[in-house]
Structures are given as C-alpha cells and as structure tokens.
Subunit: 357 residues, 2 copies
C-alpha cells in the first residue's frame, strides 16, 4: 500500500496511482485528525469522497505518530495525551476516540490504537515492551467494543461514513517470541477482520525482524489478512511473504524517490551520481513504468539536480511501480507454485547496497 | 506554450501535458546552456531526445534571462558577458553563440539574441530603448547569417541536431510606435520564418501594451506566425489575438498554480481562502480538466495548506487546461467567424480580480 499520509501520496496523483495498479492506499489518522480534521471529512462524506479516491483505503490508528511525532505525550490506562506537532494544541487519543475518528474517516480497514514503546526501550522482554504489549491488548478490546457498538447504534456525534468498514488488531511484543505468542493469543481472543504485526522495522537487525515474523505470522489465522506494518526494503517484502505476510505499507518507495534513490532489480540507483550525467539508458531497462519507458538516467539526474518537482514525481512513479510489480509477481508466483523460484532469482540480482551500474 | 524552463514544465509530467493537448512547449536557452549544458544535450541527440518530448519545442535566445537573472553583465557590440546565477562562472552570449546553442538544442523554433533594456529605462523614446532596439536589429542580422550558415556547412564544433529548425526575429522599441515601426522594418528586411513582439509585459500599463500590440502586429506578415513573448493574463490572450497575435508563452499558469491561484472563467480563485475549507464544488464547475473533474476546492485547499506537492501539480494542470482550452476555443471561434462573440462573452464573466465565489 502506497502511503498517503495527508490523503495524498506525495508527488503522485491519483491518476498515476491508478495507472500503476495501486489497489489500496494508506491514510494517517493522526495527520488527518489534526488537519483538516475528521469532522469536515465526515461532513464531506468520508475520506474516499473528500480526497476523490474511489478505491480501498486503510487508516492507521494514529498511535505510531503520537509516539514518534507529537511534541510531548503522557500515557495513562485511559488514553494518551499529546501536543500537536503543527500548533502545539493539546490533544488526546483513546482506543474509543481513535475508533471514532476512523469511523468518521470511513476507511475500508481501521486499525486499533496501540501503544508503541520507543525503540530505545525495546530490548527483548524489557518492562516497557511487556507493559506496552499488555496495554495495547486491553486497548484493543476497548477499540473492538467501540467498533461493534458504532455498527449497531448511534454513538455521540460520530458520523459512520462507511458501514462496511473492517477493523484489524495489532500484535506487539517487540523481539520476544513469548511476548509475541501472548499478544497473538490476546488479540485473536478479541477477534478482528484481520491482524497486523506492529513494533517491527524500528531499528532491530533485519534477521531478528525476519525471525519474529516467522514466529508470529503462522500463529495468526490463515484465512484472514496478515499485515506487517511499516516494512520495508524490496527484499523484506519477498522474505516476509515467505514467512506468511499478506500486506505491507511503507513510505520507503516515495520517500527514497524524493531523495533521488531509485529501487531497481539490482538494488538502489542514486540518480545524482555524476556517472549518470550522460547515461541515456532508462533507470531500469527491464522496468515497465512510465518513467523508465520514456526518460533517461541523464534527464532524471538533470531534473533532480535542478530541483524540479517532476524529479520526485517520476522517481516516485518508478519506485511505486517497482514495489507494486514485485507484489504482483509474488502473487502470480504463489498462484503458479513458483514462489521459491522467484525468491531465489530475486536475491541473485537484488542488493541492498548501491547499484554498480 | 507552457513554459518548461529547464526542459520540464514545473510540477507536471509530459504525460499530463499530452493529456492537456499541449502542442509546443518552451525551453530556456540560458538555463539549459548553464545546466546541464547544450553540449551533453546535443550528444544525446538534442533537446527532444534528452527530455523525451517528441512534440514541438521553442527555445528563447537567453537574452531575457541574461538581462534579468544573471548576477552582472556587460554589453558590447560584439556580445554580452555575464556571470552565471548558479555558480558565478563568467559566461558570454553573442548572436552567433545563442544561435549555435539553439542549433545544438535542436528546438523547432529558435529565437534571435536580443538586448532587453531594464524596465526602468523603457520610457518612450529614451536612449536605452532606442539603442537596444537598434543593437537588437544588428544582432538579428548576425544571428540570421549564422543560422543560414549552420544550415549549409559545418561550423566549428556545433552539432546541428534539428535540420528543420525555424528562426524567429524579435521586434523591440518599448512603448514608442515609431521605434516599433522601425524595428519591424529592420527585422522584416532580414527575413525570418516568424516574428515575435518582445519587450512588452514588463510593467507597462495593460492598455499601453494592447496599443503597442495593435500598432505592431498588423505591420508583420499575415502569413507568418506572430508571437507575443511572455504574456499574460487570460484576458490578455483574448485581446492580443484580437489585435493579431498567434502565439503566446507565459509562466503565469504554472507559477500562479504553485502560489495557490487558479484561473477560472470568473477570475482568480485563491485556494487557501478559509471559505473553501468545506467547499465540495470543483474549482471551476464548467472546467473539463482532470483536477476539476475529480477534486473539490476543499481537498485542493487541504493539499495546498499541507504543502503537498500534488497541490502544485493539480492546480498547474487546471491552469494549463484553462489557457490551452481558451486558445482552442479562440481558434474554433475564428474558424466559425464567431470570435467577437467569444470575446464579448469572455469579458462578461472574467475579472482580473479575485473571484467572489
């Protein structure tokens, strides 16, 4: 899922996304709640209507942003209080409030509010990880109760803009297998339309992340979506699908594009490098995206060096195509029973380091 | 012609331009000469190949930028010396050099190098205007001689990337009718594939500009293109077509879009205004552009206030559509003999001031 933080995937239009075959985008509850606000969005008919995107949308709960972006925060059992990073206004998010906001946004998939412990406190089995996991589980039960109540009766002034909304729980527990097992049990007991694995890709070594995914994913229902939040590099997608994950979101393809980094089958192509100044080849000769079909490395480098906005657009289009095409190829390979072949071929060319060509 | 200063129209892709029906874009010789340089562009096969735009391109001569952007400049009869606004490097442009650069760029229409007197010295009949007009005429003869020589024989190391290139002369003379008449005579004597009117829209009152266009355009050949450089507001297009102009270029549609100003049939819509915060109407309900067909004023305002890059893209798409559609409607009206009707109807709704809706 391309990330459209404020109701727009940065530097690309909805038309570009449709052309790329994007099926679901992600919107950020924290950002949209602060600006323009979920009230005006609800009055416009919900997020789909407000942003003019008729395809699926997933909204996060705002938890991750509160714990990473907000200026100050205070967590109690009832809720988390924080100050807006925009204007310093005092705000609060509870499991019920995060559910209400997403009900007003009317996304197709809503996430429960979770407590995200700071990466510095995520040592295996440490107290903050244990307590955040258990509090997240208690909050998940409250979020689910609120979600079910909103489906059945009017609640306060909440406008339910999408009666068909689904709600996903989030498994926590850091890098501790036992905590992950406990979190899965508590989250499954509540019961959701799908399950996410949170609290990974926050700085731990990639093999530790793979191990925790390999441990956690099979504990989740096979007939419901499993979503790994905030991951990652292209090889992470391949490896985490191999371990049982179905859905991903990540800002990496669009953020790296704005920094001049193009993801290709061979690895990361850094467009500003002088060696591309007269390179008339497309960024990735095997790629079928609009940018690779029409433009050279030399031209994209010129746009990037000249700080033209279309540099970000064209490189975002490429990176999103690369990710979406990789997921398409993975799905096809699974259908045809050739996933292990794709996985092995992918690693033969892809490197997390800079391309040498 | 949408302006693509550095080989890209700001914030929109070539695909957007093709969708808008743009037929010719403008590239800036000054900017492209400094970065990436006309040599690498020529080695790539010319500007069309370098930027991946298979449709017509017009390049200016660089004169206007040298006289408005460059840090310092010294004009002699032979050439103008200046320092690059990018790195302060000492550069020079002569009529021959400007012709050579554009020959390497391979645009479809090249412009002669002209001396553009500072707007502060353009009082009618003042010495700087007289001398700049006469020097521009002498330079035009040299530029034409160079252009014809390049068509017939190899010259130095110049790579002629577009043998079918045309060259336009530029009429100067500020706001003085007699000087304009003299400039037309001298420029026509040299003989070009088309003629531009330069040195207008530089701060003079709009009615003075209209008067000078009305005086100058009919003196130019009726069977060759007449091009008014750097103009203007939508009503300027209507009024200057009425006075005999065929071609325009202007950064206004794209620059104003980046500043949140949308041009509509009623005038200028300033998207950041609070009254649009919950306005679910499209910017211009009668407009057929992608932005107006899919997005509300409220959403575009949200994107602009949130500093999302797509705000610039969508508003540029709208403004370019408005300009290109206006010119299409003008051409159709001329074909059907109904131009005066269109002109009168246009002024009934359009105002240069902010829209009240």
């Amino acid at each position: 899922m391309p990330v459209g933080t404020r109701g727009a995937v940065k530097a690309v239009t909805h038309r570009d996304l449709e052309d790329l075959g994007a099926e679901m985008i992600l919107g950020n509850t924290y950002h949209l709640h602060l600006r323009p606000g979920d009230d005006p969005i609800a009055r416009a008919g919900g997020l789909h209507a407000f942003i003019g995107w008729p395809h699926p949308i997933l909204t996060d709960s705002g938890g991750y942003q509160v714990f990473s972006l907000a200026a100050t925060r205070k967590v109690t059992e009832d809720r988390v209080e924080f100050r807006s990073h925009i204007d310093g206004a005092l705000c609060a998010l509870s499991p019920e409030k995060a559910t209400d906001i997403q009900s007003q946004l009317g996304s197709d998939i809503a996430m429960v509010l979770d407590e995200c412990p700071a990466p510095s406190t995520t040592e295996s089995g440490s107290d903050p990880v244990v307590s955040a996991m258990r509090r997240s589980a208690r909050w998940a039960a409250r979020a689910r109760a609120r979600f079910l109540r909103l489906q059945n009766e009017p609640v306060d002034d909440v406008i339910v803009t999408n009666p068909g909304q689904a709600q996903f729980g989030i498994v926590h527990g850091g890098t501790d297998r036992d905590l992950r097992t406990e979190s899965v049990q508590r989250t499954r007991e509540i019961g959701f339309e799908g399950y996410a694995v949170g609290g990974l890709s926050v700085g731990e070594p990639v093999n530790v992340m793979y191990d925790i995914v390999a441990h956690t994913a099979p504990l989740l229902p096979a007939d419901q979506p499993r979503y790994l939040m905030g991951t990652g590099m292209p090889d992470d997608l391949v490896e985490c699908v191999a371990r049982g994950i179905d859905m991903f979101d990540c800002v990496l393809p669009t953020r790296n594009a704005r920094n001049g980094q193009m993801l290709t089958r061979n690895g990361v192509l850094v467009i500003k490098n002088a060696r591309y100044a007269e390179d008339q080849d497309p960024p990735d000769p095997e790629c079928g995206c609009y940018a690779c079909a029409h433009f050279s490395r030399a031209y994209l480098r010129h746009l990037y060096v000249s700080q033209e906005m279309t540099a970000a657009t064209l490189m975002s289009v490429h990176n999103l195509y690369f990710y979406l095409d990789l997921m398409r190829r993975i799905r096809d390979a699974i259908s045809f029973g050739s996933f292990e072949k794709l996985r092995s071929e992918f690693h033969q060319t892809f490197s997390r380091r800079q391309c040498s060509t």
